[in-house]
């Protein structure tokens, strides 16, 4: 279609229409050459309908906006002239042609600086002349509307090219005076615009002086000099008396006409008259008299025009603020208006207040006094309600900012909020996505942040220090609290008190009651019930729906840099007031989004939440049944989710006690296996991984929780080797050439770094399961609280009940207790005396290479050395104080070897058979690290070195940390002095048996306490069991035991095994037993493997029938003492190709490492 246009000389209507449509859709005309010519020729054709021609004209206007071609203007003008002068063409075509031509001229000629290149034969001049000819027939009847259109065209030209018509102002005035038809509006506006430009730009000194009598003719039209050179005069109109008088006359004339203008005409009129009045310094009161009626019309445009004027002359109108505000309020009240105008009215009022309020207390007060009329009414649309509530929020912020600093203020603010909220009170029972809810929370937000807008001039840093800020915090907090109490009432957690406040004024009471009953009114059947009771009845199950909304609101505040603290306050408030009120049932599940926020925020103490979760967990355990399996799983997972969030966001020190309790209980009692497993996993992480790293690990995502930055991080090795001694100062590099290594490498390469966060001032507090307690009653109430609610998990809390009197017990138990009492009485209480120590042997060496680059050295003789080295140790694990270690002198190891060494793993096993061993040893200094563990757990010991180089330079820095493994903690049980010689094995066996019994989880000795050495501390036994199957042949098992566990074996049972072990000769001085003589074995094994048992009795006869793999060769009993006071017991049931290790301990966290240890010990 578009293409076909090009070849045709005349275009039909449908073709044009498709071209125009195409253009509108895509902004392209296609490849049409000479669209303009085609258009013009079509416009002049007689056969095309009028409507199409009009359409073509607007199409041309659009076209010229994108495609400026001033060269075609003369042709356009010619066409226009022929149409205007043709008597046959209808007026509407003439009008549109005038308009479109003018528009095209303006878009083509208007340049950035309002400057226009005009010469004498410019088409613009011709256009103006044509237009002037049209308008120069005042009161002519037939073409009056066309004259009006021409006036508007001229006005647009004058607006585009200011002062274009300045020279002919006198003519315009004369025309304006004589025109009496309805188009006089156009004449007036044209005159006004022209005069305004003259007044503003002052094109020449005398242009106005002669306004009453024209000096030049109207036509021919000449472009004024001002438009060519652009130089205006510089003077004040008031000083030019004659001109000023003339101007006043014109303006007086113009001010007569507003009543005759349309509202939009008036708008244009105001746009021009106000700057003129300013320029001429007219009295504003004059304008007020003329225009104040605008406010009393229901035309929003006129109201707005008046406001525009008012704001221009704020001072002149002083004292009218209240009246104007009340008129605006009227506008918003008129239900006949469209909603958008009512909303606009409210917005104007807000903007208006913002402009006038300033620092004037009086105005503030009058606004606050108006606040009663801002309350929403029943039939206001929700949008109106929202805006009116915004107004109230504004008032509340004014209240806040107003000078009087007494406590009443906060209450009034709260009251404003509460009263206002009544209008959307339906949100309390509507679903959370209801619009009412959105409005309510919108206003809540506005009320909260009211007094501290983001754009506040004072920067936040200075604000925080100021007193205002504290005051603000106080009041906001108060609001927060009140609002949250409200919210909690909604959530069904608080008993609803009649929160009727003594209202200040009578009308307010009315309004409030109106609001309160809004929802009742509209649902008459609801009236039969007391609404407050209703609220109670509709328990949390209904209101928990609000949780996501509350959470969204809090999130919004939390994300805001400036109002974060508000969100935190809200969370704190919820934590404090909401949590204790929540009912412990399945509905608790829907509060988890709130819990999540609390757990995410490290400003809020997690203890309350943990407590609640603990209760919830118990509830879940109790309620667990066949139907609730899925529920339990879901809620359990949610609880774990919260735990996880806590681990990420909180310092583990603040969490430790509560969270570990919770996790422990879950892992022990939760009915769902997966939840239990996960809980155990988290617990392990919590215990073993220091805070920062833990956070890092957790945030890495579930997929790779095991990967952790180990001590031998690559980053140490990726450092550039120091090129000069100068670099040695840089402590970060020291670890790359001074090495400290364990002599015996750890069996388990711990995959996590093993320590707890620093304990700060109180070394006891964060320690897990503060196992030792003083005899004095515990002062912490918390524990008893927990205990009261947690009957079901009493095992893990048992030691809190240590004050209970002893129970009746049978002889066996009393014997066990006796043995244990004795045993424990030899364990030193590290709090009152030196504790048990473990020693870790290490070796220190350093590479001479970095030193040698500084001093050119050859040969061993000139190897560098370091002197008076002090190694200092710290650890985040509970290892007590660690004494520094001194090395007087150390020679650097020669480069050849050092190179290979530095590249191997520092923790790797150094082959003992190394031929250069002796030589090597010369370059190593033995270092002994003595630890006094508070808890048997692996960890890292950080090492700092301070030493002197040959040249006296002091080198300081941190070396690679040393890992402490669980096996470092292994000690033999303490033997009392009176037990000597042969009695020792028997003693050990007794203790083993006693502990084995006591660590039975159901053991009744669990409630006993045992006094430690020194008599001050007591300990309780708190046993746990575990099992590990090792698939290793018996020979390698025995070898491993001999190599690593020999000192701890207390008893070997079973002839076959005894024979093997005795043959090895490593394990000596223990009790050897056969199966029949040991009763304890039977007891335990009957639990673990009843299938085997029946074979035990007649083992000898039926040897062939028992598969070798199943054949029980014997037992190892191994007892390990873990400082400060714990025990680890293994009962290894040895078979031909596998070994079942039953593990019991009174320190269950150590199971976490034992697992790995055993695997490393036997399986690798």
């Amino acid at each position: 279609m578009a293409v076909s246009l090009g070849v045709k000389s005349s275009v039909t209507q449908p073709e044009w229409e498709s071209v125009i449509d195409e253009y509108n859709r895509n902004g392209r005309t296609g490849a049409i050459p000479g669209v303009l010519d085609l258009c013009l020729s079509s416009l002049l054709r007689k056969d095309l309908p009028l409507q199409l021609k009009l359409h073509l004209l607007t199409f041309l206007e659009h076209l010229f906006l994108d495609d400026v071609s001033p060269s075609s203007l003369p042709r356009l003008l010619d066409s226009l002239r022929s149409v205007v002068q043709s008597p046959a063409d209808p007026f509407s075509l003439k009008d549109q042609f005038l308009i479109s031509t003018t528009a095209i001229f303006i878009t083509s000629l208007l340049e950035l600086d309002h400057h226009v290149d005009v010469d004498d034969d410019s088409p613009l001049i011709a256009l103006v002349e044509l237009l002037l000819t049209v308008i120069n027939r005042p009161n002519h009847s037939l073409d009056r509307h066309t004259r009006g259109v021409a006036c508007e065209c001229l006005r647009q030209l004058e607006l585009a090219f200011p002062c274009l018509l300045s020279d002919i102002t006198p003519h315009l005035w004369a025309l304006c005076q004589s025109e009496r038809t309805h188009v006089s509006q156009c004449y007036s506006l044209l005159l006004l615009t022209t005069i305004l430009n003259v007044v503003k730009l002052k094109p020449s000194d005398n242009s106005i002086a002669s306004i009453s009598n024209a000096t030049i003719p109207l036509i021919p039209f000449n472009v004024p000099q001002f438009l060519i050179d652009g130089v205006g005069g510089d003077f004040v109109w008031k000083e030019k008396e004659i001109c000023y008088k003339e101007l006043r006359r014109v303006i007086a004339f113009l001010l007569e006409c507003p009543q005759n203008l349309t509202p939009f005409g008036l708008m244009e009129f105001m746009v021009a008259i106000i700057p003129m009045a300013e320029e001429l310094e007219l009295q504003a009161s004059l304008l007020r008299v003329q225009f104040s009626w605008f406010l009393y019309t229901f035309d929003p445009l006129l109201c707005h025009a008046f406001l525009g004027m008012y704001l221009k002359f704020l001072d002149a109108f002083e004292g009218q603020e209240v009246e104007i505000a009340s008129r605006l309020l009227f506008l918003s009240k008129e239900s006949q208006h469209h909603l958008c105008f009512r909303l606009l009215g409210l917005h104007w009022m807000l903007g208006f207040f913002g402009l006038i309020v300033g620092k004037d207390e009086g105005r503030k007060r009058s606004i606050i006094d108006m606040s009663l009329s801002f309350y929403p009414t029943i039939f206001d649309s929700l949008a109106m309600k929202a805006l009116k509530l915004d107004m109230l929020a504004y008032c509340s912020s004014l209240l806040y900012n107003s000078g009087d600093a007494n406590g009443v203020k906060g209450d009034r603010e709260v009251k404003l909020f509460k009263d206002g909220l009544v209008s959307v009170s339906a949100f309390k029972w509507l679903p959370p996505w209801s619009t009412e809810t959105a409005v309510a929370f919108h206003s809540f937000h506005k009320f909260l942040i009211g007094p501290s807008p983001h754009s506040d001039a004072s920067s936040s840093s200075t604000l925080i220090e100021s007193k205002i800020f504290y005051a603000l915090q106080y009041y906001r907090f108060k609001i927060c609290r009140n609002v949250m109490v409200e919210a909690m009432i909604l959530l069904g957690c608080l008993p609803v008190k009649k929160h009727k406040v003594a209202y200040g004024s009578l009308s307010l009471v009315k309004i409030c009651m109106l609001f309160e009953t809004l929802q009742i009114s509209c649902s008459p059947f609801r009236t039969c019930k007391d609404p407050t009771k209703k609220m109670l009845v509709d328990s949390s199950s209904e209101f928990q729906g609000l949780v996501p909304v509350i959470v969204a609101c809090i999130d919004r505040l939390l994300r805001c840099h400036r109002h974060r603290w508000l969100g935190e306050h809200l969370l704190e408030t919820l934590d404090k007031h909401l949590l204790p009120k929540l009912r412990n049932n399945y509905s608790l599940g829907s509060y988890f989004p709130i819990f999540k926020r609390i757990s995410e925020n490290d400003k809020v103490s997690p203890s309350g939440l943990l407590e609640l979760l603990m209760k919830f967990m118990i509830f879940l355990v109790e309620k667990h049944g066949p139907e609730t399996g899925l529920k339990s799983w879901r809620h359990g997972s949610k609880i774990l989710g919260i735990c996880r969030t806590m681990l990420i966001n909180h310092h583990s020190s603040s969490l430790f006690t509560g969270l570990s309790h919770l996790l422990a209980s879950i892992s022990l009692h939760f009915p769902d296996l997966e939840v239990r497993d996960n809980a155990r996993f988290y617990l392990r992480m919590l215990i073993c991984i220091p805070g920062k790293k833990l956070k890092h690990i957790m945030t890495m995502g579930e997929s790779s929780p095991g990967i952790s930055p180990s001590a031998q991080s690559d980053s140490f090795f990726s450092h550039n080797f120091p090129q000069s001694l100068h670099d040695l100062k840089r402590s970060g590099n020291i670890a790359s050439y001074i090495h400290i290594e364990r002599v015996t490498p750890l069996l388990v390469k711990q995959s996590w770094s093993l320590s707890l966060p620093n304990q700060g001032g109180n070394p006891y507090k964060p320690v897990f399961f503060e196992g030792i307690k003083d005899n004095e009653p515990a002062s912490e109430e918390r524990y008893s609280e927990i205990n009261a609610g947690v009957d079901i998990i009493s095992e893990s809390n048992m030691f809190y009940q240590q004050k209970e009197p002893l129970r009746v017990m049978d002889a066996k138990i009393s014997e066990i207790v006796r043995v244990l009492r004795r045993h424990f009485s030899f364990i030193p209480d590290y709090r009152h005396m030196p504790g048990l120590k473990i020693k870790i042997s290490c070796s220190l060496r350093f590479d001479s290479e970095p030193f040698s680059t500084a001093n050119v050295l050859n040969g061993v003789d000139k190897l560098p050395a370091i002197y008076a080295t002090v190694l200092k140790f710290t650890s985040s694990a509970p290892y007590g104080p660690i004494l520094p270690f001194h090395v007087a002198f150390l020679l650097g190891s020669p480069p050849k070897n050092s190179k290979s060494l530095t590249q191997t793993d520092p923790l790797a096993i150094v082959p003992v058979e190394n031929g250069h061993e002796e030589e090597e040893e010369n370059f190593k200094a033995p270092v002994c690290i003595e630890l006094e563990p508070r808890e048997p757990m692996p960890g890292l010991v950080d090492i700092f070195i301070e030493t002197n180089a040959d040249n006296g330079q002091i080198i300081r820095g941190q070396l690679n940390s040393i890992s402490v493994g669980i096996e470092d903690m292994f000690l033999r049980a303490i033997i009392p002095d009176e037990i000597t010689g042969d009695a020792v094995p028997g003693y050990y066996v007794d203790i083993f048996n006693a502990l084995w019994e006591a660590c039975e989880t159901s053991s009744s000795t669990g409630r006993e306490t045992f006094v430690l050495k020194g008599g001050k501390g007591v300990a309780a036994l708190n046993g746990t069991r575990s099992v590990k199957l090792l698939e290793v042949p018996v020979t390698s098992l025995v070898q491993a035991v001999e190599r690593h566990l020999a000192p701890f074996v207390v008893c070997v049972i079973g002839e076959q095994l005894v024979d093997m072990v005795k043959a090895g000769g490593v394990i000596k001085d223990i009790l050897w037993k056969d199966f029949h003589s040991d009763s304890s074995v039977d007891v335990t094994s009957s639990e673990g493997g009843p299938l085997y048992l029946k074979y035990f009795g007649d083992e000898d006869e039926r040897v062939d029938q028992i598969p070798t793999s199943r054949k029980n060769i014997g037992y190892f009993h191994i007892m390990i003492f873990l400082p400060p006071r714990f025990h680890l017991l293994f009962q290894m049931e040895v078979h031909e190709f596998s070994t079942l290790v039953r593990i019991r301990t009174d320190h269950w966290p150590c199971l976490a490492y034992v697992d790995d240890y055993l695997e490393a010990l036997f399986l690798n």
């Binding site: 009847s141 037939l142 585009a160 005759n260 009240k333 958008c340 207040f353 029943i378 619009t435 969204a552």
Partner: protein
């Protein structure tokens, strides 16, 4: 600086989001381009107006982002940064922004402020000219990363709107265009008593060009206005925004010629459709002489010639909420207006005293721009106006009611089972109303928007009952009858049965605020134990899938059981507003009959 009102462009989209009409104003656009080029910097530069395809795409895009054509209005959880609802202000449902995605450039340009007016199946969008600083300021507002601006903060939407009369003007333009494209009556109703047809020139003029309503008005009693059909709007029936059925195809030529006359260069000058179309079609003859003594106002291009008379009609709409509780007074407000038609020759002034209105009860009062209002509240005594042509609203007022509501009563609905409700009405009509009043009809409607009515039982003491799918309608009075002074008592009790309850799924696009119920909220009700009775249980169940209402509604209607009373009274207005024909004076003096009528409509 008062900036005036200039329009850069306007678009009309149909309900398939296709641009069916677009108009750009090159002069204004050029001005915008000039200003933009001056102020352009790294972030801000001139962007040409979108073509129709781009515009429609942007509109659809916003609809998707904001849930509906209007948008959320308030910042909800679905709101995204940069969108209108991020600004968190209900007016962003009316003043919207669009991101224009230019194909070739691949960038998003913010187009603001677009005034959105939805009328029938059409969305009308008008883009007024603002300063670049305003646009920047808005862009900052909807992209701020904080939690939402506080009221009265330095840079806020309110001060922008106060600064921009062009937005106000654009609203008026949009509404006018909306009325034109739907061909709705643009003149207020004036009730004309039975009298020989007014055969003046204007009538023949306006009649021939189809100013609607004139011929209808010649009938003795005007047809009831839209509200009697209870369309569900609460706001006055006069300004009912409810979409009309049977919209005809858009007459683009009419629209185009209206726009060219009303705002030839994008600056609106006169939006009176009747005047403009009369001028277009009739033009002027040499007989139309301008008045000799004074100038003819721009809003009165023709002068009336013929038999002279003035007609006044007082319309009042009652809004009432009744609580049936002693401690809470019922709330009854009246919004009223005086419509006028002055068939007077020349350019006379008319004045009459405002005696009837009880100033203590009047909450607001405003006038047509043709009225001259003395400064400082003098309007309360008398009003003088120079009437324009045709029918016009002379004044509007809001007032509290001096007497009780015309219908008083009691309505109760209790769900006796899940699908059956027992209801009871006890109504007393016109209690305390005196003789000259007559009541034309009175209907009570019980809407059940969420339940399908299967059947109902019960016979009312007076009137007839019928039901539709979602409502029961009780016509108490169908014929006009005058009020005797005694009240009319009416009772109606019965049961209504519904189709079995079906949980409604929330349509994904229907609710404006969207569903905030996420899948994780697993609400678990305690089984039956806490439920007090079946009624609560049912209500609970029903309120769970209530949809969010538009912000334009006063509250969630569906959440309540309510009955709606529609009635029309002829007689003295409830507000006490009255015009004494004897005190109406015309200057220059002329003898013209003055007719006054009044009617009252209700909405409860």
């Amino acid at each position: 600086m008062l900036s005036g009102c200039k329009i850069r462009a306007l678009w009309i989209l149909n309900n398939q989001d296709i641009v069916i009409f677009a108009r750009k104003f090159p002069v204004v656009e050029k001005r915008w381009r000039v200003v933009c080029t001056k102020e352009s910097d790294g972030d801000f530069k001139y962007d040409s107006l979108p073509n129709d395809t781009e515009f429609a795409a942007a509109f659809t895009d916003r609809k998707k982002r904001e849930g509906s054509a209007r948008g959320f209005g308030l910042r909800v959880s679905q709101s995204v940064k940069g969108s209108d609802s991020w600004v968190d202000d209900p007016i962003t449902r009316h003043v919207i922004s669009l991101y224009i995605n230019k194909e070739e450039k691949g960038e998003n340009n913010l187009l603001w402020p677009l005034v959105l007016h939805i009328k029938g199946p059409y969305s009308i969008l008008v883009l007024p000219l603002v300063d670049p600083c305003h646009l920047k300021s808005y862009s900052k507002m909807c992209n701020s990363s904080d939690c939402g601006s506080a009221i009265g903060a330095d840079e806020n939407l309110s001060s922008l709107l106060l600064d921009l009369p062009s937005i106000t003007g654009a609203f008026i333009v949009a509404h006018t265009i909306g009325d034109i494209i739907l061909g709705e009556a643009m003149e207020p109703e004036v009730v004309v008593a039975a009298s020989p047809s007014v055969g003046g020139l204007l009538d023949s003029l306006t009649g021939s060009i189809g100013i609607s309503g004139i011929s209808a008005r010649a009938k003795p009693v005007a047809a009831p206005v839209a509200a009697s059909t209870v369309s569900g709007t609460v706001s006055g029936a006069i300004m009912s925004d409810a979409p009309k059925m049977g919209s005809r195809p858009l007459d683009k030529d009419v629209l185009r010629s209206f726009i060219s006359s009303a705002m030839p260069f994008g600056t609106p000058l006169d939006l009176s459709y009747s005047n403009i179309s009369t001028i277009k079609t009739t033009g002027f003859s040499s007989a139309d002489m301008p008045p000799a003594e004074r100038k003819q106002p721009a809003w009165k291009p023709y002068l009336y010639r013929g038999k002279q008379r003035i007609l006044f009609t007082i319309h009042e709409t009652v809004h009432a909420a009744m609580y049936d509780r002693d401690e809470i007074p019922d709330s009854i407000t009246i919004s009223g207006q005086v419509n006028c038609r002055a068939e007077l020759e020349g350019l006379p002034d008319v004045s009459f005293p405002l005696t009837g209105l009880d100033t203590a009860r009047v909450e607001s009062l405003s006038f047509h721009p043709c009225a001259q209002v003395p400064e400082h509240g003098g309007y309360k005594q008398a009003i003088t106006f120079s009437p324009p042509l045709g029918n016009f609203v002379l004044m509007r007022y809001q007032s509290l009611c001096s007497v009780g509501p015309p219908v008083k009563g009691f309505y109760q609905l209790s769900m006796v089972s899940e699908n059956e409700g027992a209801f009871l009405f006890k109504l007393s009509l016109m209690e305390g109303y005196k003789a000259p009043l007559s009541i034309e009809f009175c209907t009570v409607t019980m809407p059940f928007p969420k339940r399908r009515v299967v059947s109902f039982d019960g016979t009312p003491s007076i009137g007839t009952v019928s039901n539709t799918d979602h409502s029961v309608e009780w016509k108490i009075l169908t014929n006009a009858r005058s009020v005797s002074g005694r009240s009319i008592e009416a009772t109606f009790s019965g049961t209504v049965r519904f189709a079995p309850w079906q949980a409604q799924r929330l349509p994904s696009s229907g609710s404006t605020l969207g569903s905030m119920a996420d899948e994780d909220s697993d609400l678990e009700t305690e089984s039956s134990g806490s439920m007090v009775n079946v009624e609560d249980y049912i209500m609970e169940k029903m309120s769970k899938d209530l949809q969010a209402v538009d912000l334009e509604e006063p509250f969630c209607w569906q959440a309540y059981n309510y009955a709606k009373v529609s009635l029309k009274m002829i007689g003295p207005p409830l507000s006490g507003m009255s015009i004494d024909p004897k005190s109406v004076s015309i200057f220059p003096a002329v003898k013209a009959p003055i007719e006054i009528s009044a009617q009252v409509l209700t909405n409860f």
